[in-house]
């Protein structure tokens, strides 16, 4: 059996990145992800790597861009307001088709928001954030173990598809400690003939660039990139199903919200309600097929989120609105209790005509909070 160690989620990401071959980290301090930078600052100089604290999030993502263009496994990490600043660079990285690994340990927003856990950057991560047509692979760990294994997977996928892989975690998983092992995901390596290495006077020069002034060239590049994205959508979606075999109510949740939702599903089962859980592990590509199948089976969906309702839009799209989808949410750093989720499941189960009225939707205001 693999050796297990007790680690914080943020540290698990840092250690897993090193094991995945990342030797270059560029970042800027922000709560609640600073343990990643601290870990890298300690370890990188001892293993021949580079830790550099940049002057800003903008500089750090552009250092990542340079290092990625040079063909290196490289990463940065930040939290919500910092990811907004990095979004310019993420667009350039996408437009240049270089691989990068980025971590967002989310905190509440908008604006400076707060420093408590949140999932309110779902739209930013899965729908863009920066300008232009582009996608990122978005991985949503729900445990410290997944912080580690999805980090290795993220580096593999980034290199495989020459795109950004982002860990979309939150302050809770970043800060909590659990026993984990580092051996469950194999490190893959990919050739990078496009990288900037110096020509050695042996080949034509490589150019890493996102500028296409001729509209037909830019259009062609965008179409080609979306071919690649289609391959990712077809082959890389990941999700977990829990008690879905005979479920009539499907709870959907990712990250830390899924841990709460799982308890609520078990409690609903104890009350005789046939509830199940679909937990998207990749938020992009979104596990549409699993949800489409569930829509054939269940009466209603309950989306549990630490935001004002973001993933719920993808649930509705994937299920083509064939079943009612209600929202069970907290925001601003608040986390729903299993009881709140259970109430939402009960409300969904009590829905006779297959349509939930607005009054049946669960929100902390209507329930008086926890």
């Amino acid at each position: 059996m693999a050796e297990r160690v007790l680690m914080k989620g943020n540290e698990a990401i840092a250690e897993a990145a090193i094991r995945a071959g990342c030797r270059h980290y560029f970042g800027y301090p922000i709560t609640p992800q600073t343990e990643i930078a601290a870990y890298m600052a300690k370890r990188m100089p001892k293993i021949g790597g580079v830790f550099l604290q940049a002057e800003s999030e903008i500089a750090s993502i552009n250092m990542v861009y340079g290092a990625a263009a040079a063909g290196m496994r490289v990463m940065t990490s930040s939290s919500s307001p910092g990811i907004s600043l990095k979004s310019e660079g993420l667009s350039y990285i996408a437009g240049s088709d270089v691989p990068a690994f980025v971590v967002n340990v989310q905190r509440g927003g908008p604006g400076l928001g707060g420093i408590q856990p949140s999932q309110s950057d779902y739209f930013q991560a899965t729908k863009g954030g920066g300008h232009g047509d582009y996608r990122m692979i978005v991985l949503a760990p729900a445990s410290v173990q997944e912080m580690a294994s999805l980090t290795v997977k993220g580096f593999n996928l980034a290199d495989k598809y020459r795109m950004t892989a982002m860990i979309l975690a939150d302050g809770t998983i970043g800060q909590m400690m659990e026993p984990i092992s580092f051996e469950d995901v194999e490190v893959e390596t990919y050739d990078k003939p496009w990288a900037l290495t110096g020509t050695g006077m042996k080949r034509e020069h490589n150019i890493v660039n996102s500028l296409y002034l001729k509209p037909d060239e830019l259009e062609r590049t965008n179409f080609q990139r979306y071919e690649k994205y289609r391959t990712v959508e077809e082959s890389e979606a990941l999700w977990e199903e829990y008690l879905m075999e005979d479920a009539e109510i499907c709870v959907t949740a990712f990250g830390i919200a899924a841990r709460v939702a799982k308890n609520a599903v078990a409690a609903a089962r104890a009350e005789g309600i046939k509830a199940g859980l679909i937990r998207p592990i990749t938020l992009w590509p979104f596990p549409k097929a699993a949800l489409r199948r569930a829509a054939d089976q269940v009466k209603a969906f309950v989306s549990v989120e630490l935001n004002m309702g973001q993933m719920i839009e993808d649930i509705r799209l994937a299920t083509e609105c064939r079943r009612p989808v209600s929202l069970c949410n907290r925001t601003g750093g608040m986390i729903p209790s299993p009881d709140q989720v259970l109430s939402s499941i009960q409300a969904a189960a009590g829905c006779r005509d297959g349509r939930l009225s607005e009054g049946q939707m669960t929100s902390p205001a209507q329930k008086g909070g926890n």
Binding site: N62, V64, A70, L196, T197, G198, T199, M201, V208
Partner: protein
């Protein structure tokens, strides 16, 4: 027949897109000559800016990257830290380096990042059609200062070399011009030194090249070069603002 003059190897055969009379061609050539003379083309990686030189990646034969606006020193840092054996240079204009990218410029200099920065100061945004730059002179008429740059409204032009030379970090900071044969020759020497410093691991070297923009200044190329002499250079005096190695050697004597 003996060859007495030829294009530097480090330049490709691509036709430059610059306007007639634009000194970018001269400055590209000086950079390429430095790369040739140091024999470093095969291990050089250049970073192009956003601005008139945005397509410099097509003109230099070494590996090239096109950075985001103002971020070339950050991207160059990423490359250099990964590939310390490569020679990494940025080629940036005044808007890119001294306005939107000022933080990246100052901090790369403060870190003594072992890169070479070629900073082309022509006191105007050329690519976007002639707006006021951080280095536009007091009273200078541009598209966004149509009544002349009013320093009580939008502040004073920034002297980048003087500013950077107050930092402990950088190895070499110098200002040159390309408005005369004599100045072009001196510019070539400074640019070569800025590359040699990197080869010798001495650290951050920046050469500010006072240049001209006949198109957006609304002048003939000849008149523009005269304006460099009469108006630009008095505000931006040429010279070496910092040379750590030379200072140390002078101290030792």
């Amino acid at each position: 027949m003996a060859t007495v003059f030829q294009k530097p190897h480090a330049l490709t055969d691509a036709a430059l897109h610059y306007c007639p009379g634009c000194p970018h061609g001269i400055i590209h050539r000086l950079v390429a000559e430095a790369i040739d003379s140091l024999g470093i083309e095969g291990r050089t990686i250049g970073v192009a800016p956003v601005g008139c030189a945005v397509m410099a990646y097509d003109y230099f034969r070494c590996d090239m990257m096109e950075a985001a606006h103002g971020r070339a020193p950050a991207s160059a840092t990423g490359i250099k830290r990964c590939r310390p054996d490569c020679i990494v240079f940025t080629y940036q204009g005044d808007g890119d380096l001294a306005s939107i990218g000022m933080a990246e410029t100052v901090h790369a200099a403060a870190r003594n990042e072992n890169i070479t920065v070629i900073f082309v100061n022509n006191a105007i945004y050329g690519m976007t059609g002639g707006q006021m730059a951080p280095t536009s002179l007091p009273g200078q008429v541009t598209q966004t200062s149509p009544y002349g740059r009013d320093v009580t409204h939008c502040g004073w032009p920034i002297r980048v070399c003087e500013l950077l030379s107050t930092l402990e970090g950088p190895e070499y900071v110098a200002r040159v011009a390309v408005n005369s044969v004599k100045n072009v020759k001196a510019a070539g020497k400074a640019i070569e030194k800025a590359f040699r410093n990197q080869v010798e691991n001495k650290g951050f070297s920046l050469v500010e090249v006072v240049s001209a923009c006949p198109t957006n200044w609304g002048m003939t190329p000849q008149k523009a070069l005269e304006w460099v002499e009469s108006d630009m250079i008095p505000y931006y005096p040429l010279g070496v603002y910092k040379d750590r190695t030379a200072a140390k050697e002078a101290e030792a004597k």
